[in-house]
Amino acid sequence: MPLPRPLEGIRVIDFTWVRAGPWAARWLGTFGAEVIKVEWPENLDMLRNNRFTVPAGVEPGPNSTGQFADTNANKRGVTLNVRTPRGLELVKGLIGVADIVIENFSSRIMQRWGLGYEELKKIKPDIIYVSMAGFGHTGRYHYYGTMGPAAQALSGLTFLSGLPGEPPAGWGWSYLDDTGGMYGAMCAMTALRNRNATGNGQHVDLSQMITGITLLGPAFLDSTVNGRKARREGYPPGNRTVWPGSPPVNNYRGPTVVPHNAYRTKGGGYNDWCVIACLSDQEWESLAALMGSPAWATDAKLSNLNGRIEHQEELDQGIEKWSQTLEKYELADKCQNAGVRAMPVQSSEDRVEHDPQLRARGMYTEMEHPMLGTWKFQNAPFKMSKSPPVISRPPPMIGQHNKEVFQELLGLTDDDLIEGYRDGSLWPPEMPKYPYLEEAVR
C-alpha cells in the first residue's frame, strides 16, 4: 500500500522558474501535492541551461541538467503560451481545478497576463495565490528585480559574512533562493492550513529580499534599540565571535566564546579544514587535555574567557599546529569523543561520499532519470512517522506531460493537442519538437 501523503489531493499550478520558486513547489510535491509546472520553451527556465550540471557523456539540452532535476523533482510539466488566447484559456482551465497558484516572476507579469489575484479568484474563489517577487507586490519599489545574490546584499545578509577590513565574502550560493523557496512552501502550506480552518483562500505576497531581513533580528534590534552600527571595527569577525584587538561586542551568531574558528587539518588540501568551538571553560580544558596538555594551553592566562579573548591569536596558532597533525574526520571524532565541539568542513563530495551521518540517515535517494540515468536527489531533512516526505518522480522533461495533464484535467483530445502544436499555443511552431511530444499524439 502506498504511504499516505499529507498534501494528497492538493493541486498546484507552478509558474515558477530559476531556483527560489521551483524549490518552493518542489517541497509541496514532496509532501504529496500534485504539482504542474507550466513552462514556455522560448523563455526557458534558466536552470534548464545550467551547463555545469550536465554529466559527461550526456547530450546537453534543457532536459539534461542536474540542477534543474533536483530542483524540480516530483512535478509534472506542461508547455503553453499564456499570451495566446488558447493558451490563456487552458491555463485558466487548470487554475479552475487547482488549489494553489505559485509564481516568482517580477511583480507585474501575472497582472499583465490577466492572471492577477482578482482574476484568479473569479476562476477559483478559494484559490491560494503565493507570489514570490524579489521586493513583493506591495511597496513603491515592487518592480525592482532581484536574483538571490542581490537580494542577499539588500537584506543585510551579505554584509555579515567576511573578515574585518576586507570586502564582504558574502554567501557562495543563492542562500535567499533556498530561503525564498522554503518560505514559498511555508506560505502555501500556512495558507492551506488557514483554508482548512476557514474555507477561505488568499493572496500571500512574499518578498524574497525581505526573507533575508527576518534572519537578522538581533542585529536589527542592536541597531533600533541600542543604536549600534554594523560598520564597526572588527566586524564581521570571520569565523570568530570577536576579532582580536576589537571590543567584544556580540556578533549575532551566538555567545561570545574563544576558541571559535576554522583550523587547517592534515593533508593541507583546499577543504582540509575543521571547525572547533569551545562554549565554556570546561570545554576548553577538555580540548587542552586532548591536545596533550602542552604548556601553552594549560597556561593559567587561558583558563578564563577574558584571557582567551586577549590571547586569541596565540591560542588559534597553537590549536592549528595540533590540528594539522590529524585528518579532519579523525580530528572531529576525537574532539567529540572528548566532549569538544568540532566538525569537518565538508565539500559537496564529502557530503555525498564521506559523511557517515548523512549516509546513515539516507540523505540522497537514487532515481532513474531519462537523460541523466541513475541520479541522486536530496531528501527532506526530517523523518515523519506517518506521512513521510517522498521523492517519487523525476523532474519533467519540457512539455512531457502535455497529453496526460490536458487530457486528464481538461478533456483535450489528441486532435486538440496537435492543433495546439500547430497554432503556437502549446509549443512554438518554429521550434523543433522533442520526439516524446510527437509520439504522445501520434
Binding site: 542536474g66 524579489g134 502550506m189 488568499q202 531581513i213 541597531s223 551566538g254 559537496s348 526530517f382
Partner: protein, 426 residues
C-alpha cells in the same frame, strides 16, 4: 515608521495558525521555529527551566546591560509567545507538562536525543493520552546515526553542512583565506524553516486523518541541503566548487560581481557581464557615457553578442571604474531603474527606515510594558492578505505566565504555585 500595532483588541482577522496550541522546549535550535508559528497566530507556550532558557544569556543586551529579560537576541526569537518555567526533572514538573501536552496540538523540542523519553515524556507516552499530538524534535543530527550525540554550534553546522566550503575569498583578494561561515546564526534559521514545513504538513495530514505524528528533524541535514548547485555540480562533474569573493562558488573562475563604490561600499551586479545582450549593454554604456566613463563601450563592435561574451572581463572592468566614481545609492537604484537586478550591500542599520519596507508595514513597534517603552522590530517577509502575520506580544519575561497558565488554565491554587516555586519546580 510604525504600523501594525502589537496591542490586543486588534480588529484584523486572526492569523492563519490561530487556534493551535504549541508547547516549545527550545534553545537556539528551535526558538525561531516557535516564533514563526507564534507570529502567524499559534498560541505558543515556551517552557523554560526555572532559571530561564540559556538563550536568554546571549547578547547583545538592552543598553549593553546583561539580564535575563534584556537579551535582544532572545527578544527577537521569542515574540508572540507566552512563557512558563517548569523543572522537568521533578515529578511535579513532569505531571504538569503531561497535563499541558494533553491539550496541545504541537510540541516543538530541541533537547538532546533520548532526554525527554528518559523522563517519561517521549512521544510514545504523550501521544497515548493525546493521539492528535504532533511532536517535532529538532536536534543537531536527528535521533539516529553515528553523529547523533555529537555537540554542535552554528559554526559547526555551517562547516559540516557545506556552507563554509562554498563561502570565502578569491586568493587575489585575501591570500590564504579560510573558508568563511557567514554570520547571523543561519544554521538555526535553515533548520527552523524546514521544521516548520514538516510541522505544517503533519497538521494538514491530521486534518484529514485525525492522527498526530512524530517528526525527527536534523539541523545537519537541513544545512547539507542548502548549498544550491554544489551537490549537482559534484554529481555531474566530480568536481567540488572553489570559493569566490561575494559571489557563487564555482568550478574554475567566474566574473566578479561585487563592485566597490566611491563611498566605500559595494553593489552586487549579478549578471552584469556574461549575460549582457547588445541592447542591454548599450543601456549601460549610455549611462556611463553621460558621466564620460563609457570608454569604448559605445563602439559598434559591442552590437555583437559574441564579442560581448568574449570581452566580459573588459566590460566588467569598465563598469568597475564607473562604480568606483559613483555613490552606492545612485548605482544600485540606477541599475534597477534600467531593469538590472542589482543590489546594494547594506548593513542592517542602513535599511532601517527604508521607504519600500515602510510601505509594506515592515517596521513593527512592539511594546515592552515592563520598561514603559516600545522598540522597532523586523516584521513579516510575507503579507498574508486574508489572515495577517503579527507580533502579538514581546518575548515573555522569565516565568511571566506561570500564574495565567498554571492557575488560570490548569486550575492550580496560588498557594500551590508558591510551593512549586519553593521546591524548585517552577
Amino acid at each position: 515608521m510604525t504600523s501594525p500595532s502589537s496591542n490586543s483588541g486588534d480588529p484584523q482577522p486572526p492569523g492563519p495558525l490561530s487556534g493551535l496550541r504549541v508547547l516549545e522546549l527550545a534553545d537556539e535550535k528551535g526558538q525561531f521555529c516557535g516564533k514563526l508559528m507564534g507570529d502567524l497566530g499559534a498560541d505558543v507556550i515556551k517552557i523554560e527551566p526555572p532559571n530561564g532558557e540559556k538563550t536568554r544569556r546571549v547578547g547583545p543586551f538592552l543598553d549593553d546591560i546583561p539580564h535575563w529579560d534584556r537579551s535582544l537576541s532572545f527578544w527577537h526569537y521569542n515574540t508572540s509567545k507566552r512563557g512558563i518555567t517548569l523543572n522537568l526533572e521533578t515529578a511535579d514538573g513532569q505531571a504538569l507538562f503531561r497535563r499541558l501536552a494533553a491539550n496541545a496540538d504541537i510540541i516543538l523540542e530541541t533537547r538532546d536525543p533520548g532526554y525527554l523519553p528518559s523522563l517519561g515524556l517521549g512521544y510514545e507516552e504523550l501521544s497515548a493520552q493525546n493521539p492528535r499530538l504532533i511532536m517535532c524534535s529538532l536536534t543537531p543530527f536527528g535521533q539516529t546515526g553515528p553523529w547523533r550525540d555529537y555537540k554542535t554550534s552554528d559554526l559547526l553546522h555551517l562547516g559540516g553542512g557545506g556552507q563554509m566550503a562554498s563561502s570565502g575569498y578569491d586568493p587575489e583578494d585575501v591570500a590564504d583565506a579560510p573558508p568563511i561561515a557567514p554570520g547571523g546564526g543561519n544554521a538555526w534559521h535553515i533548520a527552523a524553516h524546514y521544521a516548520y514545513m514538516g510541522i505544517l504538513s503533519s497538521l494538514y495530514y491530521r486534518d484529514m486523518s485525525g492522527e498526530g505524528q512524530y517528526i525527527d528533524a536534523s539541523v545537519h541535514e537541513a544545512c547539507a541541503l542548502t548549498t544550491e548547485g554544489a551537490i549537482a555540480i559534484y554529481l555531474a562533474s566530480g568536481e567540488v566548487v572553489s570559493r569566490h569573493t561575494g559571489r557563487h562558488a564555482a568550478v574554475g573562475s567566474s566574473t566578479k560581481i561585487q563592485l566597490a563604490t566611491q563611498d566605500g561600499s559595494w553593489v552586487n551586479v549579478t549578471r552584469s557581464g556574461s549575460n549582457l545582450t547588445p541592447a542591454r549593454l548599450r543601456l549601460l554604456a549610455e549611462w556611463m557615457d553621460e558621466h564620460g566613463m563609457a570608454e569604448d563601450l559605445m563602439d559598434d563592435k559591442y552590437r555583437d553578442a559574441a564579442y560581448i561574451q568574449e570581452n566580459a572581463d573588459h566590460t566588467t572592468a569598465v563598469l568597475a571604474n564607473f562604480f568606483a566614481s559613483m555613490p552606492q545609492e545612485d548605482m544600485w537604484r540606477g541599475g534597477q531603474e534600467r531593469d538590472f537586478p542589482w543590489g546594494a550591500i547594506r548593513s542592517m542599520d542602513e535599511l532601517v527606515g527604508d521607504e519600500h519596507l515602510q510601505d509594506r508595514n515592515f517596521f513593527v513597534e512592539v511594546e515592552h510594558p515592563e520598561l514603559g517603552r516600545s522598540f522597532t522590530y523586523p516584521g513579516a517577509a510575507a503579507i498574508y492578505n486574508g489572515s495577517p502575520w503579527r507580533i502579538s506580544r514581546r518575548a515573555p519575561l522569565v516565568g511571566e505566565h506561570n500564574e495565567e497558565i498554571l492557575c488560570g488554565e490548569l486550575g492550580l491554587a496560588k498557594q500551590e504555585l508558591t510551593l512549586l516555586a519553593e521546591s524548585g519546580v517552577i
